[in-house]
């Protein structure tokens, strides 16, 4: 027996869980390319919006529409996540992206002898998700899917519209008065095949179970889990470092074999009386070396107070990914123990906080203030085709007395960016000028303030 679960509004419903206000609004997810509604919430349904409707039509039905773009990658990730959860209860799962999956109940028969047991288990697993779903059960995967999508009880009643065949074939069938699967199955197979083609024959075979459905089975992502009981109760962080180091070395070995690195460590510290302290260590740039990972964990642990003595440590590493090649070494020279850039950045970010560590990049702009921007740490610098600019730029331009200066090259006129509110419609004339005492500076005259300013030094 196969179970098919269809989750027509998965992404939107998860969004609603994160943002509960959405439930009180008419919300839809729409495909950006074609501007069609793909998922919606009950309020949207009540307003008359339908899946497949254009966004323009949806707008005419209600002014309070909250449209959000549908993200395919997120949908896939959600489905995977859901499947991982279901994996606790069902061994054989096959994903039918973007919004459905199959469960094979046969291997689980010992656990769930009746279909009803499987359904209860399904409900249990899905309950914390707070999503809507429909299911269908059939002898073959295709039948299960058809029943789920159409909402029919019997395969014979499934309308032709739900058959996975070409639109041309579907039209032909409907224009001959064949509207249901039952009507189609009533036709002797060779007769139907002769008139309507191989596609139909194969489809019917799949439905009857004469042809195997090729499904790709879901396997949960592998991750590392280990627990280590301690020889003696540990009352301080220092005492934990040795056993932790052992665990991390095992992790390093595990990762080495797979040529992977991890981006997240979950440390669990088990105390008496079933209490657990959990600590998450995030590594923006990934890591795999035990020593480095130990340092990160120590950094994190120092920030947290140990509440009670620890009896056992657990280590879990999820978010495994292939190893990145090292960025160039930051430290050069004879030092043998070099640190990679990624490592350094990880440490800095952990110590100082994610937001405090960033890089700088150039922007293709003439105006000085706009010609650079923040970038993630470690990003490339960008183009450096800059004009005649002073090497030393003053952050806040200084008003000067023009009589002390002698202008010799210019003007370069720049209109201030009108799209930035504070600027208005001013302009600046930049000059290279020489001060009486010989220094070369970069001056500008601001038309709005009608004053001269110094913006940088050439020497």
């Amino acid at each position: 027996m196969w179970l098919y679960v269809t989750l027509p509004h998965l992404q939107l419903e998860r969004l609603q869980v994160i943002q509960p206000d959405l439930q009180r609004q008419v919300a839809v997810l729409y495909d950006e390319q074609q501007q069609l509604v793909v998922q919606m919430n009950p309020l949207a349904q009540r307003a008359g919006i339908r899946v497949g409707m254009t966004l323009a039509d949806a707008w005419t039905l209600t002014e309070q529409l909250q449209p959000y773009p549908y993200r395919e990658t997120q949908q896939r990730a959600l489905l995977h996540h859901l499947a991982s959860d279901l994996y606790h209860a069902f061994a054989v799962i096959s994903l039918d992206s973007p919004a459905g999956l199959w469960l094979d109940t046969k291997p689980m028969q010992k656990l769930y002898p009746q279909l009803q047991h499987s359904l209860t288990q399904l409900e249990l697993q899905l309950q914390p998700w707070q999503i809507s779903y429909r299911h269908g059960a059939g002898k073959t995967p295709l039948v299960a899917k058809l029943l789920a999508l159409s909402g029919m009880q019997q395969a014979a009643d499934v309308p032709i519209d739900y058959l996975p065949c070409s639109p041309v074939l579907r039209q032909k069938l409907k224009r001959m008065g064949i509207h249901t699967l039952g009507a189609l199955q009533a036709i002797p197979r060779p007769v139907a095949g002769r008139r309507l083609g191989q596609e139909l024959v194969i489809l019917l075979a799949r439905i009857q179970g004469e042809q195997q459905e090729t499904l790709r089975y879901f396997s949960p992502p592998v991750w590392f889990t280990q627990r280590l009981p301690l020889l003696a109760e540990a009352g301080s962080w220092q005492a934990l470092s040795f056993p932790l180091k052992r665990l991390l070395q095992e992790l390093e070995h595990f990762l080495e074999g797979r040529q992977q690195q991890t981006r997240q460590l979950l440390l669990s510290f088990y105390h008496r009386d079933e209490r657990v302290t959990k600590l998450q260590v995030g590594l923006a740039h990934g890591g795999y070396q035990a020593e480095a990972l130990l340092r990160f964990c120590q950094l994190k642990m120092e920030a947290v107070q140990l509440l009670a003595p620890v009896l056992e440590i657990g280590l879990q590493a999820k978010q495994l990914q292939p190893r990145q090649h090292e960025a160039g070494d930051l430290l050069q020279g004879p030092r043998t123990a070099t640190k990679s850039l990624a490592q350094l950045l990880n440490e800095l970010q952990l110590r100082l906080g994610q937001q405090q560590v960033f890089g700088v990049q150039t922007v293709n702009e003439y105006l000085t203030e706009l010609s650079w921007q923040r970038a993630p740490a470690g990003a490339a610098l960008g183009n450096t085709e800059l004009e005649k600019r002073p090497p030393w730029l003053i952050e806040q331009p200084l008003p000067v007395d023009i009589r002390q200066w002698h202008l010799h090259q210019g003007p370069e006129r720049y209109a201030s960016p009108w799209w930035q509110k504070q600027n208005g419609n001013g302009a600046r004339d930049y000059w290279q000028a020489q001060h009486h005492d010989g220094r070369q500076g970069w001056l500008f005259y601001d038309y709005r303030h009608q004053h001269w300013y110094l913006h940088g030094w050439f020497s």
């Binding site: 307003a47 005419t60 007769v191 309507l196 799209w419």
Partner: protein
């Protein structure tokens, strides 16, 4: 220091520059420039507008154009005289014709190869290598070549000035200073950035190095220029400008000579034709007033030198007459006796009071605008005639400039400013509402636009960009015909349609220069009328032409008074049908009024109710003076036609002919330009001075404002009434032929084939289904022993069938048809009729004479066919035939048959869907359309039907009209705004709607005012039901 700007682009260099030619000229004048050259990129699209502006300002406009050559740099050509203008225009045409629409192919080499002796050259070489070309250029333009120097106050300035100086010495070329102007004022800089962003499809903030960093590319003051450039370079600009003395009005009055035969002048020939025509139109002798009018018109035409216009159109109309193509002039031309005598228009001037000044007047000094409608299916023949007679090098279509409208402007500007696409869409969709009178700016602000930091910019930039040209497209039917090469007059480009070319000027430009333009338009009703008339001899034993149809038939007017006007030209819409029983037309002039009165102009000007009341004798008719009475008598004291308003301005307020014409123009565009208010004071004071009451004057002005751009000229309404009466007469006396003519001319008109067929059956015309044995491609008439002929539906009605293929099949069809289905299958091979066409025929029930069950027939026809590629790359279709009837399919029931009918044909001859659904118990109890007139006024009823029409006219303060079709007729539902909003999801997309409401009966007109609605579309099994929404 005198200065002339020699390098300047307008917004006709699409998306490169931010000001209009008018703005540039005005600003140049304000800055005291001697002259300004408009040098759009490979284009002269803006020069006429610039020239027009220069008439109001003291600055001379020079024609020129800019060209980019990848290897050699930037070139600017300036025109010295008429010859030079032709040379430049020809060059531009060549460059444009060699490339696809919107671009041009140019290489500097062309400057040497083409004759450009009367042009001046300005050059900015790209780099060192380009300089090698300078000798050839100097030889080709002796004493007429300069180096172009710009200065934009950027870091590259010093170097570029230095190199230009060096180059000038090296090559011995003089240097001239120019602005490279892209806008008339610095305040346009944001818009310039937005245009750049739109062109590169980026945001303004992403433009990087490309963005113009300052506003120096504008028209600068002479003082500034003196600071920036050495005096000799500036002086050079004036020297150059002095050599360019060409004025655009030198292009006027160059007409084709063919239309005047040997031995005549244009005027003398026209005179002769006019008198001949007078004898033809009035065989009993023309009334003296008409004859005098004709002579007066001929005199005026001769004085203004417009004879060629009439002769050219006359020639085209004669061609059409010889080919039997129906035609009729429309618009203001119908005011002219001359046009009537030449056969261009069909409105007898003796029947109505016409205003020739509306057509041509001394003050306006504009060429006559003669629009002629031709049968839409045969218009192409007329166009080909023009091309053949004058040659493709002398005739081309006028351009229509596609400009930014509010939606496209918001979208493009919003994207450039970085607004999220979904957000812009939201605003645009919500703007579509014509709910309130607020301008779009106020609506956007109400939607919270100002919360966004760039909200104010979005509004302001959108306002500025509205009306900016985006690209040129071809006009629908306006042809320009030149005396010699058209490309010497105006550049010609490729249009997007293959084999079509378009000139760079639009209608206004052509009018301004009095070039010869003829408008060849298409009208579906003319086709329908001709086809109907063609059937009369055989089926009705009479022959008629459009001109010979008996006038003043009371039976016809009785039919119209019953609002039985579906299919009739101009008076078939829902609004017109509602007016007919109220106005009750009894004569031709009533039809003229009927057509003119059901339009936004008179409705908003509140003319309709007073007119109807006076007609019914419910209101007294008073005239404040005999002059006013003269103008308004025939419309019972209510101004309904545009000419009446103009005449009143002249007669009651003392406007001169020219001033009245200016008023007419202001009326035409007052909503967008607000120019009407200027006339308020003059009108009211003029009327007061002549002794009229303040109240009367104010009311008249309010009516003028209401009229706006929507009032009809009387002559136009009269032309239309002519066709309306003709089609009514045909519907009344030869209904079967009438419907066949219409059905064979679709698409056109207001109604679908389904509605027309239902109307035919309600008129006791028998309609026979499509039959493989009996039908042709077109719908046919079948004679009956007594009574009306029957209509046999044609194959053209079936969806998915090709005409060629079917006509080929008809050649193979035996004269007596096929005796059974197997015979058909045997006789007609696959290559004659493809499987998909057979299946389509089966679904349409075309085989029902041979075999009953259409499902079974489709089954029998369904085969697998595979394509085999033979060696010669021809693919053969091989069909594997399965034996017939190897499986039995059930017959479709009545509902399924109806569904198949709609899917295949778009209509059904069986029971109406409503009747079927009712029989099957799917519908609640309800009243039928034919029952409603017998219901008490203000009674509560339930009605339902298929939604065929949703309309929300702008004049009706948010009211929506819905038409519901049931098995007996159509119900008119009125939906007020708050209910519309509340129950939007019920009615907006419904295909089958149930309405609880209150019946309103006023005279013979019945409406249902909706109180509650429900969408019943789920009950309906049909998907191919279309409604006409929101026209």
């Amino acid at each position: 220091m005198p200065y002339a700007e020699l390098h300047c682009l307008s917004h006709y260099s699409f998306l490169r520059a931010a000001s209009s030619p008018t703005e540039l000229v005005a600003q140049a004048a304000a800055l005291g420039y001697r002259a300004i050259a408009l040098t759009d990129e490979c284009s002269l699209a803006g020069v006429v507008k610039a020239w027009k502006a220069s008439q109001d300002h003291a600055v001379h406009v020079i024609c020129g154009s800019e060209f980019h050559c990848d290897e050699l740099g930037l070139f600017v050509l300036l025109v010295m005289n008429r010859r030079g203008y032709s040379q430049l225009s020809a060059l531009i045409s060549r460059c444009r014709r060699a490339a696809e629409k919107g671009s041009y192919h140019f290489h500097g080499q062309q400057l040497v190869e083409n004759k450009l002796d009367d042009c001046l050259l300005l050059w900015q070489p790209k780099n060192e290598t380009a300089q090698a070309f300078s000798t050839s250029l100097a030889t080709a333009f002796p004493q007429r070549h300069w180096l172009l120097a710009h200065r934009y106050l950027q870091s590259a300035d010093t170097e570029s000035l230095r190199s230009i100086r060096r180059l000038g010495k090296q090559l011995d070329w003089p240097i001239v200073a120019a602005g490279g102007v892209l806008m008339h004022h610095a305040e346009r800089l944001p818009l310039l950035h937005v245009l750049q962003a739109i062109q590169q499809q980026k945001r303004v903030t992403e433009l990087g190095w490309q963005r113009h960093v300052n506003a120096e590319r504008r028209l600068r003051s002479r003082a500034e220029l003196e600071h920036l450039f050495p005096a000799p370079w500036l002086a050079e600009s004036e020297r150059i400008a002095k050599q360019c003395h060409f004025q655009l009005d030198e292009l006027r009055y160059e007409y084709p000579a063919e239309v005047v035969p040997e031995g005549f002048t244009a005027d003398s020939y026209l005179h002769q034709l006019g008198l001949q025509g007078l004898r033809w139109r009035y065989p009993e002798g023309a009334p003296a007033a008409i004859r005098e009018q004709l002579l007066r018109e001929l005199e005026l035409v001769a004085e203004l030198n417009f004879a060629h216009f009439f002769l050219t159109i006359y020639d085209i109309v004669v061609f059409a007459r010889q080919r039997g193509i129906l035609h009729q002039g429309r618009g203001s031309a119908a005011n002219s006796v001359l046009c009537y005598c030449l056969g261009i228009t069909a409105v007898n001037p003796a029947q109505s009071q016409l205003l020739f000044e509306r057509f041509i007047s001394r003050e306006r000094n504009e060429p006559p605008d003669i629009d002629v409608d031709f049968e839409h299916e045969r218009r192409e023949e007329v166009i080909q005639y023009i091309y053949e007679k004058y040659g493709r090098h002398r005739a081309a279509l006028a351009a229509t400039v596609i400009t930014y409208r509010i939606r496209s402007a918001l979208r493009d500007v919003g994207k450039a400013l970085g607004f999220a696409q979904a957000q812009i869409q939201q605003w645009i969709h919500r703007l579509d509402r014509r709910d309130s009178e607020d301008g779009w700016q106020a609506q956007l602000q109400a939607m919270g636009l100002m919360n966004h930091p760039l909200g104010a910019h979005l509004i302001q930039l959108t306002e500025t960009i509205l009306g900016f040209p985006r690209h040129l497209s071809q006009h629908v039917g306006g042809f320009v015909i030149a005396k010699d090469e058209l490309s010497n007059l105006v550049p010609i480009e490729n249009a997007s349609m293959p084999e079509r070319t378009v000139i760079q000027w639009d209608k206004d430009d052509i009018e301004a220069l009095c070039l010869l333009k003829v408008d060849v338009l298409a009208l579906g009703m003319l086709t329908a009328i001709r086809k109907t008339l063609a059937l009369l001899p055989e089926f009705y034993q009479q022959t008629q032409t459009l001109a010979s149809i008996p006038q003043d038939d009371p039976e016809v007017y009785r039919m119209l008074q019953r609002a039985d006007s579906m299919g009739v030209f101009q008076i078939e819409s829902r609004a017109q049908m509602n007016m007919l029983p109220r106005l009750k037309p009894r004569c031709f002039y009533d039809l003229v009024v009927q057509i003119a009165i059901v339009r936004p102009g008179p409705i908003q000007g509140d003319m309709v109710h007073p007119y109807l009341r006076r007609r019914d004798g419910l209101e007294a008719i008073e005239y404040p003076s005999p002059e006013v009475a003269e103008v308004l008598k025939r419309t019972l004291g209510v101004p309904i036609f545009q000419e009446q308003v103009i005449k009143l301005a002249m007669v009651a307020a003392g406007f001169s002919g020219g001033e009245a014409d200016a008023l007419r123009r202001a009326m035409a565009s007052w909503r967008s330009k607000g120019t009407l208010m200027k006339f308020e004071a003059k009108l009211i004071s003029g009327m007061l001075a002549r002794g009229y009451q303040q109240e009367f004057a104010e009311r008249l002005f309010a009516q003028i404002c209401g009229f706006g751009e929507y009032g009809f000229p009387e002559s136009h309404a009269a032309s239309f009434a002519n066709l309306a009466y003709a089609s009514s007469w045909l519907k009344c006396h030869c209904p079967a032929a009438f419907y066949v003519g219409l059905l064979n001319s679709l698409p056109m008109g207001f109604y679908s084939p389904s509605q027309l067929v239902q109307d035919a059956r309600r008129h006791q015309v028998e309609v026979l289904p499509v039959c493989v044995n009996k039908s042709e491609w077109d719908h046919q008439l079948i004679p009956r022993d007594s009574g009306e002929p029957a209509i046999r539906l044609g194959f053209r009605l079936i969806k998915g069938i090709q005409r060629k293929e079917l006509e080929n099949f008809l050649q193979h069809r035996p004269a007596s048809g096929f005796s059974d289905f197997d015979q058909f299958q045997i006789q007609i091979q696959e290559h004659v009729l493809s499987s998909s066409t057979r299946e389509a025929l089966a679904s349409a029930g075309a085989f029902s004479a041979l075999v009953g069950n259409r499902y079974q027939t489709r089954w029998n026809l369904t085969h697998l066919s595979s394509q085999i590629k033979a060696e010669g790359q021809l693919s053969l279709l091989s069909v594997q035939q399965a034996p017939s009837n190897d499986y039995q399919l059930a017959e479709p029931d009545a509902l399924a048959t109806m569904q198949e009918d709609y899917q295949a044909l778009g209509l059904t001859l069986g029971k109406h869907p409503i009747a079927l659904l009712q029989e099957n118990g799917h519908l609640p109890k309800h009243y039928k359309a034919t029952e409603l007139p017998y219901i008490r006024h203000q009674q509560c009823v339930t009605v339902l039907g298929l939604v065929t029409n949703r309309q929300r006219p702008g004049t009706a303060s948010g009211v929506t009209f819905i038409s519901l079709e049931d098995d007996t007729g159509t119900v008119n539902v009125v939906l007020w705004q708050d209910l519309a909003r509340k129950q939007r999801r019920q009615w907006l997309k419904a295909r089958l709607l149930r309405v609880h409401g209150i019946v309103e009966i006023v005279g013979d007109v019945v409406h249902v005012i909706a109180k509650d609605m429900r969408d019943l579309s789920d009950v309906l099994p049909v998907s191919r039901l279309k409604s006409r929404d929101f026209h």
